[in-house]
Symmetry: C2
Subunit: 119 residues, 2 copies
Amino acid sequence: MRQLVLQVLTEQKTAISLPELEQKFEKADKATLYRTLKTFEEHQLIHSIEDGSGSLRYALCEDFCTCEPEHLHVHFSCNKCGKTYCMKDLPVPQPDLPNGFEFSSANFVVKGICSNCKK
Amino acid sequence: MRQLVLQVLTEQKTAISLPELEQKFEKADKATLYRTLKTFEEHQLIHSIEDGSGSLRYALCEDFCTCEPEHLHVHFSCNKCGKTYCMKDLPVPQPDLPNGFEFSSANFVVKGICSNCKK
DNA sequence: AAAACTTTTGCAACCGAGTTGCAAACTTAC
DNA sequence: GTAAGTTTGCAACTCGGTTGCAAAAGTTTT
């Protein structure tokens, strides 16, 4: 099962949500897929994005990604097709927080129209 | 009802979620509060933040806020107390998107420990 | 002030994403 | 082959959000 999920993930060009993953299989149980994603995430194989669609989306991490703040990248969520892209070349800036606030992670999602829908 | 909700909102130092708002009242119905927030949001009195807590949070907009991209600010979500702060002084940077991608909005949430929990 | 109409509210039901307990199926080790 | 550990599937449940509908409250018209 995990191997199959991994395969689907590698084939994806955009981040996938649990419900979408369910549909890809029709056979596997939601709970299994859910736990698979959690396991992958724990082992830093994938990262999760809160794109505001109501469901978390997941995408493969880069090789050697340690999921540290410096490695975070911007995500783009298309208002039209709903796809969520990993902008791996766009690092998340670390803003100057006020005194006493400690940065540990960040979620930066840009919304708009993707190049595919724009055409 | 709306007046009461507005009052609660002005008293808040951090963004509030629908379930939290419900608790503040004990009397009013979820649906009423829900619709109130939606109405406020439509009229750009408040803005919503997806802080990844599983529930949307709302906070009052600044006077004359038009909710345009340039007016967006960073939000900070504390991992300890769960509060979500509006960093009104920190504008959301507009990253250089690849060709064909059109920016329309953004959600930038920094996570970590807030100054209050740090003490 | 009553009638007609509009708006707001409360209830109940529902949906969808995520999550968990538990027992069955499967692996691996001995 | 049996015991121990792991993975899977089912079912049930939680929780935030959302909607239809009818009652209540508020407005306007006459």
